[in-house]
């Protein structure tokens, strides 16, 4: 398979790039021409461009003008590329200068089934969507008569095994923070003796003064290089980069060592086992000795913003055992890993846990957010304890339902598994050919959720645009691949071609 892919890669890149020519949306016919090539599988969207079109340097003159104007009202220092979404389709993102790039960053891993996806366009144009947009309810007080059905046919249809309830939120940060709140309430309820035990007068009075016991001296335990969001509670569990944390007050919550695996895995088996054992020991030490006892551990299946750091299923199994042993909840943050990219719908399915996580948070590719749970005691013992005005957004819940329909129709979880394997093999070939350029390749068997380290990462990311690919980084030196779920082998060929061109230049 690798050799077939390599053969496909030999097709000159220039045939797909048309600098300085008219905007070019080739039909998919070319890609279909040879049915024996792995890059010629039937495309999900026949109208998708057959390849990138690079007409100008990026940003081009039109973009530059628009960015200068935008900067007057909006901070553009983190701007990567000005996009024209009306011209973006499938895996391809367009800009105002007519450049059309293969997008394997996908809005920081948050576009699931392609730009301007025709089915989602139908969902967006539906009466149900229009009503949800303009008649936005305060969900906790005035849910619509069809909210149960929207949940059941959408968000709850894909609930992780063992978790049949959801609390809906707006984005990853508040999904995590509301999960943390549920964990704190649960722990204090246990300490009080159960759901039927009333708050004490001291609890009530002290809570209003931000003091214990009402505002308890408890914590959430997270891991070094973790990312869980950037509001005050979630940022207290985020340990990715100083620029995320500097100057913001934080809770004095504990951070455990994350096992830093060495690659290739098969050459470092004992070392990695030791690193994972030490990390688990660190977790247990912090649970049993930290001055603010953790009531929950929060962890990403693959640390994403922190540099695409993986751990083995055995590590996560150990963490589940340890948290059970110490009556600490396990919150799995699937904001970036969830919804299909790893070859499973939820990345934690790779672990085969004996008992499910207590809560699983989601956002990004779901295009809505929240946390799943199963234990009914995670519904707080009184109303209005877990509550806010909007509590999510039915419009986005309806969109997620449409996304799930696309995932099912096109069997996209199988797709990321298969294409991920193909892409990983291609990268492995490149790593053999250019060992200094592709280091610590990781994500084998994790769908398209693949990363490698690059000694000149930012330069590589930048140059990839000139060969027609929009690609992102994570951590200090990782190139993280976050293609959409509709990324196919013929897209992988374009990506691999582009990488080779850039590193060999």
């Amino acid at each position: 398979m690798a050799s077939l892919r390599a053969a496909a890669r030999l097709r000159p890149l220039a045939s797909r790039l048309h600098p300085q020519t008219t905007r070019h949306y080739a039909s998919a016919a070319a890609a279909k021409a040879s049915s024996s090539s792995p890059s010629s599988e039937s495309p999900f969207f026949p109208d998708e461009p057959a390849g990138p079109t690079v007409k100008t340097a990026i940003p081009g003159p039109q973009s530059k003008k628009a960015i200068e104007d935008l900067d007057k009202v909006f901070d553009t220092r983190s701007l990567n590329m000005l996009a024209d979404y009306t011209q973006s389709f499938g895996n391809y993102i367009a800009d105002p200068d007519g450049n059309v790039l293969l997008d394997v960053y996908a809005q920081i891993a948050s576009i699931p089934v392609g730009y301007s996806n025709p089915h989602l366009l139908e969902v967006a144009a539906s009466k149900a969507m229009a009503s949800a947009i303009i008649n936005r309810p305060a969900l906790g007080n005035f849910p619509s008569h069809d909210w149960a059905s929207i949940l059941r046919t959408g968000i709850l249809k894909v609930a992780p095994k063992g978790l049949d309830q959801v609390f809906t939120a707006m984005a990853g940060s508040d999904a995590n923070e509301t999960a943390y709140k549920a964990a704190f309430m649960y722990r204090r309820q246990q300490e009080r003796g159960g759901a039927h035990v009333e708050f004490s007068a001291e609890d009530i009075a002290s809570s209003m003064n931000n003091q214990a016991p009402g505002a308890p001296q408890l914590s959430i335990l997270s891991f070094k290089t973790a990312f869980h969001g950037r509001l005050f509670g979630s940022l207290s569990t985020t340990r990715s980069k100083p620029i995320h944390k500097l100057d913001i007050p934080a809770f004095d919550w504990p951070q455990a060592t994350f096992p830093l695996l060495k690659y290739p895995l098969e050459d470092h088996i004992q070392e990695n086992q030791k690193a994972e054992a030490e990390a688990l020991a660190d977790v247990e030490r912090l649970i049993t000795t930290h001055h603010l006892p953790p009531c929950a551990v929060v962890i990403e299946p693959i640390q994403s913003e922190g540099g695409d750091n993986h751990a083995s299923p055995a590590f996560f199994q150990g963490l589940r055992t340890l948290t059970k042993k110490h009556n600490v909840l396990l919150i799995v943050d699937e904001v970036q890993t969830g919804v299909g990219a790893t070859g499973k719908f939820w990345a934690h399915e790779h672990w085969n846990l004996d008992s499910p996580p207590d809560m699983v948070t989601f956002s990004k590719k779901a295009q809505t957010a929240g946390y799943y749970f199963g234990n009914p005691d995670l519904r707080p013992n009184k109303p209005y304890r877990q509550f806010n005005t909007w509590m999510g957004d039915p419009a986005r819940a309806i969109l997620f339902r449409g996304i799930i329909e696309e995932i099912e129709r096109l069997d996209l979880v199988s797709n990321t598994k298969n294409v991920g394997e193909y892409l990983y093999n291609g990268l492995e070939d490149l790593a053999k050919k250019y060992p200094g350029e592709f280091m610590n390749l990781r994500g084998k068997g994790q769908g398209t959720f693949i990363a490698f380290d690059s000694p000149r990462r930012d330069d590589v990311l930048r140059k990839m645009k000139s060969v027609g690919v929009n690609i992102g980084g994570s951590g200090e030196k990782a190139v993280r691949l976050r293609p959409m779920l509709i990324f196919q082998k013929h897209h992988a060929d374009i990506l691999l071609d582009g990488l080779e061109k850039v590193v060999s230049a």
Copy 2:
């Protein structure tokens, strides 16, 4: 005018309520019949029901069945009324049993221009909206080519005087928290000596450990009975009710006394002046002595969730002077008061400040959220310091633009001013007639943002449904009126009729 209104009120309520009859959407013709009546002004939406329809007890049999089903997947203990938004129109909210209520609660003050507003329906059905829904960008990295235009013709068009920049967010809580983050970064930048001074190695290292100086020992000062949201940072500034705060860890931030005014204001002038002076003294004491120095004061123009607590323009002027004197930022939380309901677009316009607040936060009726600012130094000195994946939602920004267009087309800020005066006068009449039932009437000159205390508040709220009105409370005993901006005098008559009927029963 009051007498005319009273005459209108004499029209038997039964003529607008049709228990156990077919669903009834009368034309507006009846309301127009007598052009001399203040309740017969030209309706904004001729197709709006002429009055409520109450067919069953609420919840009725259909609703009860649906609520029972919903409870299996969604916490319904805070459910107020199951709604059918497809049948809701203008000021009227419908339920699955065919009840149609005048809604003066409006999704906790968040519906601005009516259910199923025809102009918003057009906006929702537009191509721009569809693209914004399905091609949601990571705004900080990949804004769309028309984002500047969406901001200028929408959110920034109504920016408070002196504030020409915005950072967009998702809801009130994260709008406030990102404003707090901006305040902390600004203060630390000043302490460091300016935007050009780099972080120290100690800043960087300690921030990753959630320790000072990187995670600074600073605070946000808020007021007793304030509400600013329910995530960890915002909840640390919220002091509304124990049920909002119990069991959630909080920062040890200071709370100042809020002046508790006595009513009627004209009878307690000196007492109230004294209360406000004492509150300001308390603010100054906390700014100068608290062990976590406040870098900003956050305040609502009218404390809303905390019980509709008002203060005078002089108090807010004093607060602006005090914060300037001590180099503390002033953040005005207009999440509930903003966007027209008080007879000004922003409630703080009532204060005639010499210099504007440093930041103004918004959400709810804007249907999007964020904070406005003017001082360019409130853009952090480096990119990615104020950043997250979505950074708001262009779809909701486009909706806010449509809302602004409706506010302008129908001159709705003038409307809330005028109707508010009419409604206030009517309530004053009721308070004279039933002094034990309408206490501490407040909100004179504040548009329709009116409240009063009721000794049997929860009972009144419940019974109002039986006379066709959906109405909400705040604090311990306040009835808070939060009609939409399209609430007119003929709606006020229905509300006043209903209140009189309930309290006199």
